[in-house]
Amino acid sequence: MSVTATELDHHDDHDHKPSGFLDRWLFSTNHKDIGTLYLVFSLVMFLIGGSMAMIIRAELFQPGLQLVQPDFFNQMTTMHALVMIFGAVMPAFVGLANWMIPMMIGAPDMALPRMNNWSFWLLPFAFAMLLSTLFMDSGAPAAGWTLYPPLSLQGGNSFAFVIFAIHLMGISSIMGAINIIATILNMRAPGMNLLKMPLFVWTWLITAFLLIAVMPVLAGAVTMLLTDKFFATSFFNAAGGGDPVMFQHIFWFFGHPEVYIMILPAFGIVSEIIPTFARKPLFGYVSMVYATASIAFLSFIVWAHHMFTVGMPLGGELYFMYATMLIAVPTGVKVFNWVSTMWRGAMTFETPMLWALAFVILFTIGGFSGLMLAIVPADFQYHDTYFVVAHFHYVLVTGAIFAIIAGVYYWLPKWTGNMYNETWAKIHFWWSVISVNVLFFPQHFLGLAGMPRRIPDYSVQFTEFNQWSSIGGFAFGLAQVFFAIILIHACYYSKKKAAAQSWEGAKGLEWTIPSPAPHHTFSTPPKINKDQLAAGHLD
């Protein structure tokens, strides 16, 4: 055992937290405080985006128009997506990266601490801009989060605000990604070789590369939209020699890697949790790394499967179909490895493990429906129906969000020094996992039967499944309010203190330091004992 660095910390005069509120939170350069800011921001956005989903499900409870105007319904679908993707899921992952990566690799902080502050502090401004459009006379953007022209160019005053808000979010993401790459490549403690890093660190390294590669492409795409609307360019105007389909190509060149940006860190979280509670090293560690890299590479060459019905040449349809199906291979490797990690493990089912298990099963369902959508002739039937909505909510809610919740329960003891209430957390889990399936599973049937997405009204034969879905939606939404209560309780009122190694089977440097983690950790690089490492079975 060697916990030398942390012992040293207690004698370090610089270890005190900044005393003033502004000094601590507004001017912070501390990876833990900035991580907390990200996570709190993400939770707030999750609840705001969730309220929008509640409005959508309330309107869809029965056919006909009852609660909201169709245009407002479209604003809700658009804003729900933008808020959840850029405000909830991505900042949550960056928050987890901020908190955990320096502690996992034995670094004193992020490589570029001032820029880290800016990465976060752009987001509240960007989302204030985005949400302010809800209060404009012409309303929020209503053309869908994909902003397809020409429809998106016909919106009101919100348009320019959305474009600039996306620019700010993009700058934030790129700076965050640069920081994460520099931290991982430059700040590892001696002996923390690349192939000894925890898988969460690996998946984030690859995700950060994806972010740097594609966020600027989104910036370019929305800049072209802006100039088409305000400066008379013709990028997406066929009369001027451009092409509205071109926007879709550029957008999805960003958009497809973006969906992996939202799932690869989830893979990393689950790959930390399952070995802990199976009390076995991760099965196939190296193949996990290569599978992650393969998925990232493939994500760049499959984008047009989002646009099979747009009118592509047959060769394009075939290529994008086969390339998309290839992704099932590395993804299958991952699922196989998670299951094999549990094989003959000494399993216990604390809350983080329950969420991780639900992730493996439900994310796989989302993966299978993705394979169905990859088949071009079948996609002609599924395209723009609720089947697609069901598919991407299985991968994003029961995939990304479930993994984030799993990670929060798993690492919260390390952050706060307190244990959450296990009974409440288990209630939260079962409540969520049942309601989320009531919410999204019927949407498969609705889509197969032909119900289109992004429409506030529907034909009467879809009523029953929609009512199931809405009931599941309200229940799932309420469960997440309960989640917020559990978190507040755990942070401020919980009497149960967490040990340094909060989970019996947990491995990794983060568990060698006290709970709560001191304000500064690893001011001098720790000596790495290979028994402490999750990937220690390598040698």
Binding site: G220, A221, G241, G242, M246
Partner: protein
């Protein structure tokens, strides 16, 4: 206010990022309101925002320069800065890739289809049966009216030579710095700035010529869109690069940098080579082909 924490320098507390966020937000909210025409002082708001950004950059970079000159940064910090710059330049490459992609897509797919190539694509037959795909074009509706283009082997060729030469001069400046020959260092840097400024002079001249004599504008269909957006964003990057060059020239005159420790210089040189390479792509694909 900043303290070295153990081995790696972790600054404590920084006000500049929040100033930057306020500046950026002021600028883009001003710009959005200006575009929407919602209130008359929106433009002024935008410029106030830009002023705040400049203030932030001077303050933030100034602080880093002072820390660097005080010897705060060691080898590991140096690598962090290098990685930061390297990946930032990659993100810039991808930003330009979006616009190059638009140009290639329009020329390889959109325009041939509008001209009647391919099967099952009926836009040509039903809407514009008389449209022929001949580059340069402003599309079947002749958006922006008839226009002429700027020949490649005229000012653009001169500009290519100017930028390539500036790549040589900044390398000579770098060699001088490594040999600690301060006078040639400063003169080679001044030559680089002068070449960049001449490039920008010709670009502005060319834009005025295009708008006033050739009727080639941002609104000249897909040709005008790709031409001005690609060369315009490149010109903005050259301007930023030239400002960065002026800053390091001034720093060299003040005696900053040592033959071993001069990442600020190298970062600017990397950036300058990057705008140089983008220009080569522009020259080939926007002007020549």
């Amino acid at each position: 206010m900043a303290q070295a924490s153990g081995g790696y320098y972790v600054p404590h507390g920084t006000k500049w990022p929040i100033v930057g966020s306020i500046g950026l937000t002021t600028a883009v909210v001003g710009a959005a309101n200006m575009l929407n025409g919602t209130f008359s002082s929106a433009q002024a708001m935008m410029f106030v925002g830009f002023a705040i950004i400049v203030f932030m950059m001077v303050g933030w970079f100034g602080q880093v320069i002072r820390e660097s000159e005080a010897g705060t940064y060691g080898h590991q910090e140096d690598i962090s800065f290098r990685m930061g710059m390297m990946w930032f330049i990659l993100s810039e490459v991808m930003f330009f890739a979006a616009f190059f992609g638009a140009l290639f897509y329009a020329r390889m797919f959109a325009l041939p289809w509008l001209g009647g190539e391919g099967t099952g694509l009926s836009t040509h037959d039903t809407l514009w049966p008389s449209f022929e795909n001949i580059w340069p074009t402003n599309g079947p509706a002749h958006i922006g009216g008839p226009f002429e283009t700027i020949p490649a082997f005229d000012i653009p060729l001169v500009n290519t030579l100017l930028l390539l030469t500036s790549g040589v001069t900044i390398t000579l400046a770098h060699h001088a710095l490594r040999k600690n020959q301060r006078t040639p260092l400063v003169w080679w840097l001044i030559a680089t700035v002068a070449l960049g400024a001449t490039f920008m002079y010709f670009q502005v001249y060319e834009y005025i010529h295009a708008y006033s004599d050739l009727n080639l504008t941002l609104g000249s269909g897909i040709y005008g869109s790709t031409f001005f957006m690609l060369t315009g964003f490149h010109g903005m990057h050259v301007t930023v690069g030239a400002i960065m060059l002026m800053v390091i020239t001034y720093r060299c005159m003040k005696g900053h940098f040592t033959p071993e420790h001069h990442f600020g210089f190298e970062a600017v040189a990397w950036y300058w080579h990057f705008v140089d390479v983008v220009w080569l792509g522009l020259f080939v694909f926007v002007y020549v082909v």
